[in-house]
C-alpha cells in the first residue's frame, strides 16, 4: 500500500482501534468468551425458569453421572448448572455498575484536580491518598455490613473503594493534555472551562480511560465474588461467589460445587482482561503500523 492510499484510508480513531483490535487473536478470543458469558447470563436471568435454591436431587451427586445434572449437585442436592446460570447476573450487574460508579467518581475528581491545579489539586489528591490507605475489601465489607447488603449497596461500596486509581490516571492525562496546542486554541476562541474539560480534553483522554474502565470491571467482579464468598452479598440472589462460600465446608467431600463457579468467575475476569489488554494495544499508536 502506498503512503497516499494509507492516507486516503485513514479512518476515525475508534474505527482504526477496532481494526487493530480485530487482528489481535487473544483479544478477540477474550471478546468472544465474554459475549458468550453475557449471553448465557442473560439467558439465565430472563429465560431460564429453574430455581437455583431448589433441592432437586441427592446431595453431592458427582458431575457427568446423571444426565439431568451434568455438573452434579451441591451439599443440599441443588443443581449446579442452575446456580451457574442464575449466579452470573448479580456478579455481572454489580461488576458493571461498580465500574461505572468508579469511573464517574474517578474521572470527575481527577479532571478537576488536573485541570485546575493549585489548591484544588492538592485537596483532591489528599482525599485520593486517604482512600488509598483504606484496605479496599475491608472497607467495602464494613460499608456493606453497616448498610443493607443489597446489590446497589455492594456496587456503591466497590465503587467507593476503587476510584483512586482512575482519579490519578485522569489527573495525569489532564496534566498532559491541558498544555497541548488544541486546548490553547479552544481557549483562544472563547471556550469556557467546562467545555474545555468535558468536550476537548476528555475525548482525547478517552483511550487510557476506556482501558482502565475495562480493567475496573474485572476488579469489581473479583470484589463482588469476594464479598459474596464471605456471605456479605445479597442473600436472596444466587451468585458464583455465594456458591463457593456455601459449599466451602464440604470441599473435602466434593470438589465440583466450588470448582465450577470459581471457573466461571475466572473465565469472566480473564476474558475482560484480555479485552482490556487488546484495547490497550489497539489504542497504542506505536503498535499500529505492524
Amino acid at each position: 500500500m502506498s503512503d497516499l492510499e494509507k492516507t486516503l484510508r485513514a479512518q476515525s480513531p475508534m474505527a482504526e482501534a477496532w481494526r487493530m483490535f480485530r487482528r489481535n487473536i487473544p483479544a478477540m478470543f477474550g471478546l468472544i468468551i465474554l459475549i458468550m458469558i453475557i449471553l448465557t447470563t442473560l439467558y439465565g436471568a430472563f429465560v431460564f425458569t429453574g430455581d437455583p435454591y431448589e433441592i432437586v436431587w441427592a446431595p453431592h451427586e458427582p458431575p457427568l453421572l446423571t444426565p439431568e445434572f451434568p455438573l452434579g449437585t451441591d451439599y443440599l442436592g441443588r443443581d449446579i448448572i442452575a446456580g451457574l446460570l442464575t449466579g452470573g447476573a448479580p456478579t455481572l450487574a454489580v461488576g458493571a455498575s461498580a465500574a461505572i460508579i468508579t469511573m464517574v467518581i474517578g474521572i470527575t475528581l481527577g479532571a478537576f484536580a488536573g485541570y485546575y491545579g493549585g489548591w484544588v489539586d492538592t485537596l483532591l489528591m489528599r482525599i485520593t491518598e486517604f482512600f488509598q490507605v483504606l484496605p479496599a475489601l475491608l472497607f467495602a465489607m464494613v460499608l456493606v455490613t453497616l448498610f443493607s447488603p443489597s446489590l446497589i449497596t455492594i456496587a456503591i461500596a466497590i465503587g467507593v473503594v476503587s476510584w483512586p486509581q482512575t482519579a490519578r490516571l485522569t489527573r495525569a492525562e489532564f496534566l498532559r493534555i491541558k498544555e497541548l496546542e488544541y486546548v490553547t486554541a479552544a481557549r483562544a476562541i472563547g471556550a469556557q472551562n467546562g467545555l474545555i474539560m468535558w468536550r476537548v480534553i476528555i475525548p482525547n483522554a478517552a483511550p487510557p480511560l476506556i482501558v482502565s474502565a475495562t480493567l475496573t470491571v474485572g476488579v469489581a467482579i473479583l470484589f463482588e465474588a469476594g464479598l459474596s464468598f464471605l456471605g456479605l452479598g445479597d442473600p436472596n440472589k444466587m451468585s458464583w461467589g455465594l456458591m463457593i462460600g456455601m459449599n466451602r465446608e464440604y470441599i473435602l467431600d466434593a470438589w465440583w460445587p466450588v470448582t465450577f463457579p470459581g471457573l466461571a468467575i475466572f473465565l469472566t475476569v480473564f476474558s475482560v482482561s484480555l479485552v482490556g489488554d487488546g484495547l490497550n494495544d489497539a489504542f497504542n499508536p506505536k503498535l499500529r503500523e505492524r
Binding site: 488509598q132 483504606l134 484496605p135 475491608l138 464494613v142 453497616l146 464471605l230 463457593i244
Partner: protein, 325 residues
Amino acid sequence: MPINYILKRLGYGLLLMLGVVVLNFFLIRLAPGDPAVVIAGEMGGATEEMLESIREEYGLNKPLLTQLWIYVSSVAQGDLGESFFFNQPVSKLIALRIGPTILLVIVAQILSIVIGVFLGVLAARKPNGIMSAFVSVFATIGYAVPVFWTGIMLIILFASTFPIFPVEGMQSVKLRDANIFIRSLDITHHLVLPAFTLAIIYLAQYARLSRASMLEVLGADYIRTARAKGASERSVLFKHALRNAALPILTIAGLQFGNLISGALLVETVYNWPGMGRLAFDSILRRDYPTIMGVLFFASAMVVIANLITDLSYRLADPRLRGKS
C-alpha cells in the same frame, strides 16, 4: 536522608490515621439505627443498662463534635473500645491477631517480588521467547483468579492428594509446647500454602511489570557499554539493568500493600489463619462494630507504615532523590 523529611512524612502519616479515626466515627453514626445499639452489636441482645453505659462512655447524649473529641482522644490513648461479643478490649484482641497477619503479608510480599522479578528478568532476556509468552499468559491468569478460590483449590489438592502441607491454622496443637525452634518450623510449614496463595496474584503482576521495565532499560546506552566492556550476561542483567529497572517495581510494591491486606483477609478466612482478616470476618458476622472499626484502623495503619517505608527506601534506591526534601 534529611531528618526533616522523615518527620514530615511521619506527620502526614499521623494525619491520615486521624482521618481514618474520624471516618470510623462517622460510619457508626451514619449507620441506620441507634449508635449505642450499633456499638453493642445487633446480635448481642444488649440490655438497657449496657446501652446506657455505652451512651455514657461514648458520650452519645452530648453534641456530635464532643462525641468526636471523646472518640479521637480515647483512640489516641490506645483505647479502641470494648468488643461486646468477645468481651475484651478491642486493642487486646487485635494485639493477639496482628502478628500472624504481618507475617503472612510480608512473606507473601517477599515471595511475590523475588519470584516475580526473577521471572520478569528471564522473560525480558528474550522478548519474543517462550518464557516471555509464559509470563504474559501467567500474569493475565494470575490477575483473573479469585484468591479465595485458589486457596480452596490448593486445599483440595494438598489435603488429600498430596498431604505434605497443613491446610488449616498456624500451629499444630501437639507442638504448641515445643521449643521455639520447632515451633518456628511448624509455623513456617503452616505458612507455605497461605503465603503462596496470596503471592500468586501479585507474583504475576510483578513478573509482568519487571519484564516491561527491564525491556525499557535493556535498550539503554549504558547496557550496551556494559556488554561492550565484556560484562557477563548475568552481571548485565542483574547488576546493570535490574538496579535501574527496580524503581517502578518498588513504587508498585508500596501501592500494592493495601491490596495485599485485602487479599490476606480472604486467604486468612480460607485457611483459618488466626490473623486480623479472620478477626474482621468473625466480627462482621457478629456485627461487632468496635472490633471491625479497630481492624480497619490497624489495617490502614499498616498501609500507612508500608507507604512510609516504600517512600524512604525509594529515596535510598534513587541517588537523584537523596538530600532533597
